[in-house]
Structure formats: structure tokens, C-alpha cells
């Protein structure tokens, strides 16, 4: 689904929505919007071949988990359009990016803005950690490291069936600490799964802080290449570079784009909180007010009136 906005404008819109949400709720996954907005904007606004949403703009309430007794169960994948062979599929592997992903759905006209008001509310399907039934989600990925394997299985199956649609996985760099990520890449190489694409938000951050202080992962581009992927490393805030990376030839191998990003890109005041950026909760009303003024100025909007 295309609209008149540029991808840069979509990325800015994502950040504004996440900022507003975080100010109103006294905290949120702000740094993920800083690092990943271009990637998600690019995927939804340019790169993915998706059909029109099949689910209502305002998300339905939680409809129960999958079970033999829940005949009406469906995932949130309908926000990405129907499962036709020609269409692409997308998994958001780090499910804690859900807030940013929901903002992306709104900015690309796939979900109503009211959807974000339901975020993390009891009885809502718009969950804080994206669940299968949350808008835009198709599988549970809250346990980090399983997304690429699931994508690999889906891509392999679609390739066997001759479906032209691609399978994309949005990943986070912390996932390279999980052994399963490497198992997935070696399996893709062994089975020639080249209709699988990943773009990884390499922001060097994880829950405990900077990755280098938690577990050093070394040169992951070389590691991915050695395990059998085609890997391209780019500036994750440079849309032209991301576009070029996606065109890299990768016959017989999955393509993994490492998008090197800053966790405070466009919200410079966040650097004050480094290295604990995973989830930013304001420690005082004074801090909240200072962040409000500073980020609003960075994003070119008025400060949020969060008292009302």
C-alpha cells in the first residue's frame, strides 16, 4: 500500500507517534524508534509487496489464544494483507519493538491511530510485547532468536510450492547472542533458502546496556558470511544505502542487511540515559518535562500535553 508520503516522512511520523505515546505513559520503547524507524518505514512503505489489510482498522479486542475450541482465532497478520502466494510476509523478530511496529502500521494507513490507544491495555490485542494476535504480527517472537528459524521454514516451504512472495524478518542485534540464530543461517545456506531476507537493527544495545558490556559478539558481518549468508552492512539511517543493500545478489543464500544505527538518532537527549536505553521510564517529573521539550524540538512538534 503506497501513499503520498515519502519514506523519510513515514519514519518521522513513527518517531512522533512513539514519542507522544511515551510522554503520555511516562515511558516506553523510545530508543527502538530512534534506531529502527527508517527500516520499518522502508519495509512497509517501499520494499514489501503487501495486499490491503484484511482486518478492521481499529483492532478487535483479545479474542482468545489458539485452541481446538477457538474456531474464530486468527493472528494479527491480516494487517499486512492476505496470504497470497505473490505477497511478501514479515516477522517482527524482536517483539518488544511492537510499539514502533504499530506506529508504522498507522503511518502507512494499515491501522487506525486509535489502535495505539489500546497499547498494553487489559483485554486489548495491541500488546506491549507483540503477540501472534497483535496487529501486524504472525508468530510469537517474544523469545528472542526464534524468528529467523521460523522465517527460514516458511521461506523454504514457500519456495517448494513455487510461491514468488518473499519472507522478511526484522531482527535485532542482540539475537546474535542466541545460538539458534546461527543454526538458522547454516540451515538456510545448506538448503539454498534465498527467498529469505532479514534486516537487523544493529544499535549495539540490549536490555542490560551496551552489547559490548554484556556479551561481546565481534564482527557479525563476517560471522554471517562465514555461516553462509550474504551479508551487507549499511548506515541504518541512510535509506539510499538500505535500498542498495536490498539489491545485493544472493543466489542460494539468505540476504541479511545489517543496519548500523544510533539508539538516540533524532532524540539527542536520550544519550543522557545511555547505556540503559532498552526501556526508558522517566525518573522524575522534571526529567519528563525536559525530555518532552527536547524531543519535541528535535522532531519538529509541540511538546506533548500529557497532563490531560
Amino acid at each position: 500500500m503506497r501513499n503520498e508520503k515519502t519514506t523519510e516522512e513515514v519514519a518521522l511520523g513513527i518517531r512522533r507517534r512513539v514519542f507522544e505515546h511515551a510522554m503520555r505513559n511516562n515511558g516506553g520503547y523510545l530508543s527502538q524508534a530512534c534506531s529502527a524507524a527508517e527500516q520499518l518505514a522502508w519495509l512497509y512503505h517501499e520494499e514489501l509487496n503487501l495486499g490491503a489489510p484484511t482486518l478492521p482498522p481499529v483492532p478487535e479486542p483479545f479474542g482468545g489464544v489458539p485452541s481446538a475450541d477457538n474456531a474464530d482465532y486468527h493472528t494479527g497478520a491480516g494487517y499486512n494483507g492476505p496470504f497470497s502466494p505473490e505477497y511478501d510476509r514479515l516477522f517482527i523478530a524482536p517483539a518488544h519493538y511492537a510499539l514502533v511496529a504499530y506506529a508504522t502500521l498507522i503511518e502507512t494507513g494499515r491501522m487506525a491511530p486509535e489502535g495505539l490507544e489500546m497499547f498494553n491495555k487489559d483485554g486489548s490485542s495491541v500488546e506491549m510485547i507483540g503477540a501472534e494476535h497483535s496487529p501486524g504480527m504472525e508468530v510469537h517472537n517474544g523469545t528472542l532468536g526464534i524468528g529467523l528459524s521460523t522465517g527460514a521454514g516458511l521461506a523454504y516451504g514457500r519456495k517448494r510450492r513455487g510461491e514468488p512472495g518473499r519472507t522478511w524478518v526484522f531482527m535485532s542485534d542482540g539475537e546474535v547472542q542466541e545460538g539458534q540464530t546461527w543454526e538458522a543461517v547454516q540451515a538456510c545456506a545448506f538448503h539454498g533458502i534465498d527467498n529469505l531476507y532479514a534486516i537487523m537493527d544493529v544499535n549495539d544495545q540490549q536490555c542490560d546496556g551496551a552489547m559490548s558490556s554484556v556479551m561481546e559478539v565481534g564482527d557479525i558481518a563476517t560471522k554471517f558470511s562465514n555461516f553462509g549468508a550474504t551479508c551487507v552492512e549499511v548506515d541504518g539511517h541512510d535509506l539510499t544505502a538500505i535500498r542498495d543493500a536490498s539489491k545485493e545478489a544472493h543466489e542460494g543464500r539468505p540476504l541479511i542487511i545489517l543496519a548500523r544505527t544510533s539508539p538516540f538518532h533524532t532524540m539527542s537527549i536520550l544519550e543522557e540515559r545511555f547505556p540503559r536505553l532498552h526501556y526508558v521510564r522517566f525518573k522524575s517529573e522534571d526529567e519528563r518535562a525536559r525530555f518532552n521539550t527536547s524531543i519535541a524540538a528535535d522532531l519538529g512538534v509541540d511538546p506533548i500535553d500529557y497532563a490531560h
Partner: protein, 334 residues
């Protein structure tokens, strides 16, 4: 002497899956050990080697399910749930993927010791929402396990016997049912898997002791027909003895106990199996004797329930089978 069938799974899987484009055969480096080497050679296009990487294999299978395939995963049971439990839960069980988990070497059917013996898998699987559980106790059940498993709308855990397997039954598994092997009125004996053969070894000795045994064999552990079990319990005077190739916590002993407690049944229950212990490596008859899983253990359990000794010794029981450790019907000594 019981009729023995060589490698029934090999034949049955190939017959069931060969040429079906929606079924894929996944293996984690235990292809001949799980008797799918012939299938690999004759249906290479349906065979997907996943290497020794079970975490990826389970999530990958979930992805295949999403693409409309019905993957049959083959490896030793322990390797399919202990390390990749998170993947089993998130990628297969929660979304109800039609993944058929073929777990070989159930319980003490292997001399491989703790790392190879799945002694608590039924307990684990029973507590997973959306999971079904089947267990094979003879060659006929092994021959029908693929069709039975593939009839289930969701994931299914199967305990599969391999190598030389006795034929005890002449009808295939019917999912959701139980086999009534005798209809006595004194004591209900409930067994599954290889424990059933042990109970049959004790049958004539118990009859000669004047005991009227009602014996049921469970191939379907989940879903479970509680009402039918209660009817059987209601048909015996003294109580119930369960015998399983599994720890007594969470397996069929627990299943029977829960059914009785939920219905307020006040009869006695003796649960036989691994009693809060790991096993070690050894032959099957040795392990079943050592850990109290064999025919003699069942007799002693019945004596305990009846608070009476019947003078039955090993000599009074039907002969046990002793498989060769190194046999042509197994890929390795495991």
C-alpha cells in the same frame, strides 16, 4: 512365542508419507537410528536434513507448518523437548502447527543413560496446551502411528518403538480410544508402551492365583477419555495399578490419579514406574527389573494393593525377551 516385527516404523512411514507432497521428513542426524534412511534414499525430495541443531529444527518446522506442510520430525525423544522446549512451545504448540514429533527411545528402551532416556516427556507434553500424545506398545501401533498422528488437527507427540518390536495387537491405533485387553472384576491394570507387554507376561500367573484382572492399554494419552476409564474403575472391586515406562509424576499414573480424584473415587491406586529417579545405562530387561518396571514389579504392586502375597516368582512369569545389544535391526547399540 510372540511374533516379532523388524523395523516396523521404516516400512510404515515410507508407505504413509512417500509421494505425499505435503509431508516432509525432518531428521537431526539420527536418520538410520530413526529408521528413515530408506525413505531418505528413495524419497530424497521429501527428506530435509536439519543437522544437529534441534532449536532451529523445531522453529523451522513451525514455519513449514505455516506454509501448509505437515512435518514429521525424527530424532530421539529427549532431543526434541529438553533443549528446544522454548521452540516447541512458541513455534509449534502455541500456534497449533500440524507438526508430528516422532520421539524414539522412550523411557528405558535405550542403554544410553540419562542423556538418551526420555523419562519425563509425557509429563511435559501433558502440561502443554494444544499438544496431543500417542504412545506405541507394539508393532501394529508403530505401523499405524503415522496415520493416527497425521489425523490430528494440531501438534502431536509420539513415543515410537524401533528395531525388533513384538506384535501384540491386530487393530490399528484409533485416536482417543483405549484397548481393553481383559475384563476382570478384581483389579484394574493400566499400562502403555512397553509396560503392556510386561503386564501380559504376568497374566497367566495372576489368573492362576485366582485374580480377575481388568487390563487396559493406552495408546492415546491426550486427549483422554476420562469417562471410559471411570467406567472401568467402577467395574473392579479392589483398585487400580498403573505401570509405565516413565516417571510416576505426570505420566499415566498421574493421569489415572487425577481422573479418580476429580471424580471422588475412593479406591486404592498403586502407581508403578520410575520413582522420582533418573535411570542409568543398561539393557532393557536389566533396567526394567532394577527400576521396578517389569512384570514382577507389577505382581508385587498388585500384592501391595491386595495386602496379600500370591507366591508368584519370576519362574511363574512368561519369558522375557532379551534383545541383542548389537543387532542388525538397530543402527547402533543404543
Amino acid at each position: 512365542m510372540v511374533d516379532m516385527v523388524s523395523r516396523p516404523y521404516a516400512t510404515a512411514f515410507e508407505k504413509f508419507a512417500g509421494g505425499n507432497p505435503d509431508i516432509l521428513c525432518l531428521s537431526a542426524d539420527l536418520t538410520s537410528s530413526c529408521e528413515i534412511d530408506g525413505f531418505r534414499d528413495r524419497y530424497p525430495d521429501q527428506f530435509v536434513s536439519m543437522g544437529m541443531a534441534e532449536q532451529n529444527m523445531l522453529s523451522f518446522a513451525g514455519g513449514l507448518g505455516l506454509a501448509g506442510f505437515r512435518p514429521f520430525i525424527h530424532t530421539f525423544g529427549v532431543f526434541m523437548y529438553r533443549r528446544p522446549y522454548d521452540q516447541l512451545m512458541a513455534s509449534i504448540a502455541y500456534p497449533r502447527r500440524k507438526v508430528r514429533l516422532m520421539g524414539f527411545l522412550p523411557g528405558v528402551t535405550t542403554p544410553g543413560g540419562m542423556t538418551h532416556q526420555s523419562i519425563e516427556d509425557i509429563s511435559v507434553m501433558r502440561s502443554i496446551p494444544n499438544m496431543s500424545i500417542l504412545e506405541t506398545g507394539d508393532a501394529t501401533e508403530v505401523e499405524s502411528i503415522c496415520e493416527a498422528a497425521d489425523s490430528i488437527d494440531g501438534p502431536v507427540w509420539c513415543r515410537v518403538l524401533r528395531g525388533s518390536v513384538p506384535r501384540l495387537f491386530d487393530t490399528p491405533i484409533k485416536v482417543g480410544e483405549m484397548r481393553v485387553l481383559s475384563e476382570g472384576t478384581d483389579i484394574l491394570v493400566v499400562t502403555s508402551g512397553i509396560s503392556t507387554e510386561e503386564a501380559l507376561r504376568a497374566r497367566s500367573a495372576l489368573a492362576q492365583a485366582g485374580l480377575s484382572i481388568r487390563h487396559i492399554h493406552l495408546h492415546t494419552i491426550k486427549p483422554f477419555d476420562h469417562k471410559q476409564l471411570l467406567d472401568h474403575i467402577g467395574s473392579v472391586k479392589h483398585g487400580v495399578v498403573t505401570l509405565e515406562n516413565h516417571v510416576t509424576e505426570g505420566g499415566i499414573g498421574s493421569l489415572v490419579a487425577e481422573t479418580m480424584a476429580d471424580a471422588g473415587i475412593g479406591k486404592r491406586l498403586i502407581r508403578l514406574g520410575l520413582k522420582d529417579t533418573y535411570a542409568h545405562g543398561g539393557s532393557r530387561p536389566y533396567l526394567m527389573r532394577y527400576y521396578g518396571l517389569d512384570a514382577l514389579a507389577l505382581v508385587r504392586g498388585i500384592e501391595r494393593l491386595m495386602e496379600q502375597e500370591f507366591g508368584i516368582s519370576e519362574d511363574d512369569l512368561d519369558a522375557t525377551r532379551v534383545d541383542d545389544v548389537h543387532s542388525l535391526v538397530k543402527a547402533e547399540a543404543l
